[in-house]
Every structure is written in structure tokens, then in C-alpha cells.
Symmetry: C2
Subunit: 184 residues, 2 copies
DNA sequence: TTGTTTACTTACTACTAAGTAAGTACCTTG
DNA sequence: CAAGGTACTTACTTAGTAGTAAGTAAACAA
């Protein structure tokens, strides 16, 4: 991948989290990178192709991270996961899912499919983490692990959204309570 | 308020929830209502003015609803509140906060202020409901009522987002678990 | 050395966006 | 009945938007 291409993807990622997929334009990428908009179209024929690449990168990044955390106790794995969100919160950004879900209906079928894939991957990992963690007495909760995973994910996701509006304290209060509830 | 004006606001509300504030255009409103785009500008000089009206209507609607529920036991009040979200879920839509928070940075200061006002109103009501409900032994939870309220709100909000991507079952699973956790 | 591919730029198109100025039909009120 | 406001339409501007066709400079390959 050329250096420019990488920069385009990372700028698009930033812009999606900052302003939303439908609110950024090629100018927002081409100007700071000092390239022409045609350079973006060279690497990504359409805006959706660019969006798909951003989501794919996020899926790869999740796989990489969870692989790295594999040998830690489950409560520490989940804390690491929370920290990824915390970083976005500190930058004033929301997560990809939180940004793309409201725009879901405006996305191409291919991009929707990728977003779905990302959501499924997140749910799958958190479910596994909770399930194993409960078995190892690292977590204590009632109900199915998958239901609990949905709760955890929705809390993290939405706390970033609320932080946008109510200030970053919202994220910290929610994530702290969240981990406390799991007896972590 | 003229009939057209009311229809414009309710169409804008629908479009914000469906596609997001930055993804709908005046054409999306003017065409189905069979008016010209200038008619929208007559009632709302700018798109932000229209957005502000939508948010104000939501704030009024919350006040009206909660007033109506006032005499019910707190767990039933919260169930009613959940039902408002459930309706949006069944229509495949997200809530206003969930839609506007990702776009927050692209909004005018006046509209941001209104969104903030809406968020504060929601947090205030849920906090009060939980606090009173705990006092009346209708809810059982640890920690401050406001922290818990943030958790509840973020779950409801985000479950609509996840439902978009993963299907409506996500909402039902999350909201059921949510109420169960409160011992409601 | 010549041909090909990569990674762009230049210069453009077609379209859509929000927004506006001026005109008009229809009420309402003195 | 005249004056003025309300609720629009007609017709337009300005400023983007994503996307494209054609050209080019440099690296690489035969």
C-alpha cells in the first residue's frame, strides 16, 4: 500500500469518527494531505470503497488486538478493550459503529455488509471474553453471555456518543459502573 | 402552526432518525409533501433552524409523556419510557440523540445547545425515576442513581443503533436484560 | 532501450445542496 | 372595500459534491 493510500484511509477513519460518513467530503482529505481529489478516486473508485477499507481495517485491528491480549485474564482483556474506547473518548471521537449505524440506511449494500461483519466480530469477541471470564470466576453476572455482551458493547458505544454532548465525564462514569457490575 | 409547517417538522424528524441530519436534503422533504424547497425556507430560514425545531419538539414530547406517567409506579414509568424506544426500533429508526450525537461537531452552536438540553432533560428524568423507584423498593441497584441513569440511557440508545446493524432482536435482548438488572 | 505499470495531477463534468429575491393568491381586519 | 399579513411558488444563484478522462513523471521489466 502506498504511503498516500494509507494516509487517505487513516484520514477517512478520523473524519468518520469526527463528523460522520455523510458529513465529510473528499476535500477534507485531499487538502490536509496535499493531494488532489482524483488521487483518492485512484485508490478508491467510490466513497463507499473508501468506507469499506476503513471498516476492514477496523476489523483487522480488532483481530490483532484481541490476539495480543489472548493470554491475559479476561477482566484485564476487557479493560484493554475499554481502553480503546477511552482513547477515542479523549480525542473527542465516537467509535466506528456509533458513527456508521445512524447512517446505515444510506450506505451501499457492500458497505452495510462490512459494517455488519464488524458488529458481529465485536459481539463474538466480547461474548467469548465474558463466557470464559465467568468460567474462570473473573466475572459474575446473570443471564447469557451474549446478552451481557450486547449490554457491554452498547454501553461503551453509547457512552462515547453521550460524552460528545455531555462531556467526557459521561464515558468514565459509565465504563466504571460497567466493570463494577461485572464484578471485575 | 400551519399544517405544512407541522408536516415539515415531522418529516425532518423521521429523516434524521432514518438517514441522519447530514444525509437528508430539502428535496427529501419537499417532494413527498408536494411543496417547493422555498416553502421549507419560509418556515425555517436555515437547515439548523429546522433541526432545532425537531429537537425542541422532542424535548416537549418527553415533558408531556413523563407528566402523563407521573402517577404510575416507577418501574412502570421506566417500562413506558422503554416502549418509546421500542416503537422506534420497530420502525427501524434510531433515537434523536443516537442520530445527532455523531454529527454533533457539524451542528451550529445553537443546535448543539439544544441537543445538550435534550440530553440533560433525559438524564434528569431517568435519574429521578431511578432514585424514587429505589426509595419505593421498585428498583434495586448499587451506585448513584445518576450513574445508573447514564447506563440505562446509553443501553437504550445504543441498542437501537445495534438493531440497525444486527436486527431488531438486539433491542429486545438488551432492554429485557436491562430491566431485569434493575430488579424491576 | 522500449514498453508497461504505478501513482498520481490537470482540468473538467454532471449534479445536488442550501439558500434567496420577487411575485402571487388568499385570508383577515379596520 | 382597501391594506396588510400569511403562506406559499417561481425562478434563480452560489457553492459545493462525487466522480472522470486524459495526461505525465518515475520506477520497473523484458
Amino acid at each position: 500500500m502506498s504511503e498516500t493510500k494509507e494516509k487517505i484511509v487513516s484520514m477517512a477513519d478520523k473524519l468518520i469518527r469526527e463528523k460522520g460518513f455523510n458529513a465529510f467530503s473528499y476535500k477534507d482529505i485531499s487538502e490536509p494531505l496535499q493531494v488532489k481529489n482524483a488521487a483518492i478516486h485512484y485508490h478508491f473508485p467510490s466513497k463507499m470503497d473508501l468506507g469499506i477499507e476503513v471498516v476492514e481495517q477496523e476489523i483487522r485491528s480488532l483481530a490483532l488486538n484481541t490476539e495480543k491480549w489472548k493470554k491475559l485474564p479476561e477482566d484485564e482483556q476487557l479493560a484493554k478493550f475499554c481502553n480503546v474506547f477511552r482513547k477515542h473518548c479523549n480525542n473527542g471521537n465516537v467509535c466506528l459503529m456509533g458513527s456508521l449505524a445512524p447512517d446505515y440506511e444510506t450506505l451501499s449494500p457492500e458497505m452495510r455488509e462490512k459494517v455488519h461483519e464488524m458488529a458481529a466480530a465485536i459481539v463474538e469477541w466480547v461474548t467469548g471474553c465474558l463466557e470464559q471470564g465467568r468460567k474462570h470466576k473473573r466475572f459474575h453476572f446473570k443471564g447469557s453471555a451474549e446478552d451481557r455482551a450486547l449490554l457491554v458493547i452498547s454501553n461503551l458505544q453509547s457512552s462515547l456518543l453521550l460524552s460528545r454532548v455531555l462531556g467526557p465525564a459521561a464515558f468514565h462514569r459509565i465504563s466504571r459502573q460497567l466493570l463494577a457490575d461485572l464484578g471485575a
